[in-house]
Amino acid sequence: MPLLEVKDLKVRVEEREILHGLSLTVNKGEVHAIMGPNGSGKSTLSHVIAGKPGYEVTGGEILFRGEDVLEMSPDERAAKGVFLAFQYPVEIPGVATMNFLHVALNAQRKARGESQLTTPEFLKKAYAAAASLNIPRDMLKRGVNVGFSGGEKKRNEILQMALFEPAVCILDEMDSGLDIDALRVAADGVNALRSPDRAMVVITHYQRLLNYIVPDFVHVMSKGRVVKSGGKDLALELEASGYAQFEDAA
């Protein structure tokens, strides 16, 4: 059984269809890259998988380990192991990052029937994860993403991924706003989480990220559909020739 299966998904936003029958199959252990021009629907796909309100699914289905995801609340999906690293992580003033991470991790564990982590247990885990991502401790004391630079916000997303240990990680443009060094650190963080039980869906505009996180499959999205799939060489091809060749196919 695939880990994540998107079948003929049709999605509308405010009366306009954005995804017109999109299919994608992701198995355990695989890394998929999704590339495609601005506005082709990549973030929309990631949002619908994570359960963001405001999207109307008019056709198709999303299965996670064979279960209908569309019936689940966003928190149920998270507890079951679906993780979205946001393209634009929000700032939450007044909610300390450490407190948020602790509450979130324990909420997921509770939903799975696992024990709650005490503060010392949690701190140990969080500081270790933060250290491996070069995240200074004082950043964790601030409000969630408040006053974080673009790159720090992205690193905070990867930190959460490392802490929550999800089964499928959807990374929406994790490379945007990262300098070369930060990109390498974040990519190392992602690679460290690669495992035979886990899958990654990496949304990006740039081949460069895929030098660090080498995908098994590359999909090209255009106008709300996957118009071409291939191996990692497809990304190189795109870098050379751009998306124009696919626009007609869509």
């Binding site: 928190d75 998270a78 007044g94 979130a104 939903a111 929550f164």
Partner: protein, 441 residues
């Protein structure tokens, strides 16, 4: 007392109960005369209703309907239940002064080892045999407000605190009002704090119900005089039972170069009104007020502040935050008057309301009356729901809808709680907010 003054059923019942209660109300002579005058003032007006501008959003005739009879003096069983309730909320490092069903309870209070220059007595004691000046100060509140008048007429007990010049108390004083009544009754209390010059104190007022307390009315008032160069930190937490009424008034007067920092949070009571007048009587003084309403179900809570800038060079900051869920109704009325001579006044008022349901309501009535020309005054207000994108972010990380809301509500309220200087009292306020959030489910 002329019982014929009564105009309607509930009015008559009250006149009767005033007559019946008189034997239990402390004070004779001038005190008794002042009570009668206050009762007449109340009786002429009756319970305030929506056609009186100041009570437009809080129609006590509709919400409270009647004034309940005076609560009996608590017996041993009541005192025991009160002690349990007090213990549940006890925090370290404060001196507790407990009123049970409107009567000072010495056994539950800590009166030993009072610092030099600090005197703590009871309202009963002062009205029965205190100095005339102190009695006059207790009756200084304006009977034009019917609920103040009623309180003046009926006040049974309270705490009278006097702090001498130059005394800065590090240990906060906490007045705890506990209601135990299992039958519908009312309590009437008035407390007084006189803070001398160059002095400082932290005063906490807590309103709680003992387990099993049902419908009751807490009618309270507070008279405060802050001397020159003195500072009062004040925390007020209304956690009355969910069938209770809390009608409280306060008059705070500041001398010169004085500082008043106050935080109030209402998370309990079915219906509550807190009406406070803050009057600047000396130059160079400063006031910060932070208020929070945390309401759900059909709770109604009204905070009405009157900031009276009567002298030059004073500053006031009012921040009020309302959280209203279900069919709850939050009211904030903020009136600022800058009198002609009060040049260089700096007065600002800000209200923020968070509505968690379509049926919740938050009314906000700012009134600025500025009669001086060289002043900085302003007010602002925002009303909104919780930010959907923040909620989704939290839910995508595994928090349920209620948990995500709770975290954002804590953050919203937390900004106000930050204004409390004392660490233990900040914890007390956080715990009260937490209790409300947990009761919400």
């Amino acid at each position: 007392m002329n019982l014929a003054l009564a105009k309607n059923e509930t009015g008559r019942a009250l006149s009767d109960s005033f007559a019946i209660a008189r034997d239990r109300l402390p004070g004779t002579g001038r005190v008794a005369e002042a009570r009668s005058a206050a009762f007449e003032a109340y009786d002429r007006a009756g319970l305030p209703h929506r056609r009186i501008e100041d009570w437009k959003y809080t129609d006590l005739r509709a919400l409270m309907r009647e004034v309940l009879p005076l609560a009996p003096t608590p017996d041993a069983a009541a005192l025991k239940r009160a002690a349990t309730a007090v213990k549940l909320q006890a925090i370290k490092g404060v001196r507790r002064l407990v009123l049970v069903d409107g009567v000072f309870a010495p056994k539950l209070s800590e009166l030993d080892g009072l610092e030099k220059g600090v005197a703590v007595g009871t309202l009963r004691g002062v009205l029965e045999s205190g100095e005339a000046a102190l009695q006059a100060q207790l009756f200084s509140l304006d009977s034009a407000n019917p609920m103040v008048a009623l309180n003046s007429a009926m006040m049974t007990d309270g705490v009278v605190i006097q702090i001498a010049n130059g005394i800065v108390l590090t240990q906060p004083l906490q007045i705890i009002h506990v209601a135990t009544g299992t039958t519908p009754t009312a309590m009437f209390t008035r407390s007084l704090l006189r803070l001398g010059k160059d002095a400082g104190v932290t005063l906490v007022e807590s309103y709680i119900a003992a387990d099993g307390a049902k419908t009751y009315q807490a009618h309270d008032s507070l008279v405060v005089a802050i001397g020159d160069n003195s500072r009062l930190d004040h925390v007020r937490l209304v956690e009355d039972g969910r069938e209770a009424f809390n009608i409280s008034s306060a008059v705070i007067t500041l001398g010169a170069h004085a500082h008043f920092n106050t935080f109030g949070m209402t998370s309990g009571a079915a219906v509550s009104r807190y009406q406070a007048t803050i009057a600047f009587a000396g130059e160079g003084s400063r006031v910060e007020t932070n208020g929070v309403n945390l309401l759900n179900g059909r709770q109604h809570a009204d905070t009405t502040l009157f900031m009276d800038h009567a002298v030059p060079h004073c500053a006031s900051r009012e921040v009020f935050r309302a959280v209203a869920d279900d069919r709850a109704h939050s009211v904030f009325q903020g009136r600022i008057i800058v009198r002609p001579q009060a040049q260089k006044t700096d007065a600002k008022m800000m209200t923020r309301a968070l509505l968690l349901s379509d049926e919740a309501e938050a009314d906000n009535k700012p009134e600025l009356e500025i009669f001086a020309d060289d002043v900085t005054c302003g007010h602002g207000a925002t009303t909104g729901a919780l930010d959907e994108s923040l909620l989704f972010y939290l839910r995508a990380r595994g928090l349920s809808e209620k948990e995500a809301q709770a975290l954002l509500i804590q953050a919203f309220v937390g900004e106000a709680i930050e204004s409390i200087v004392n660490d233990d009292l900040r914890e007390l306020a956080i715990a009260a907010a937490q209790r409300w959030l947990e009761a919400r489910g």
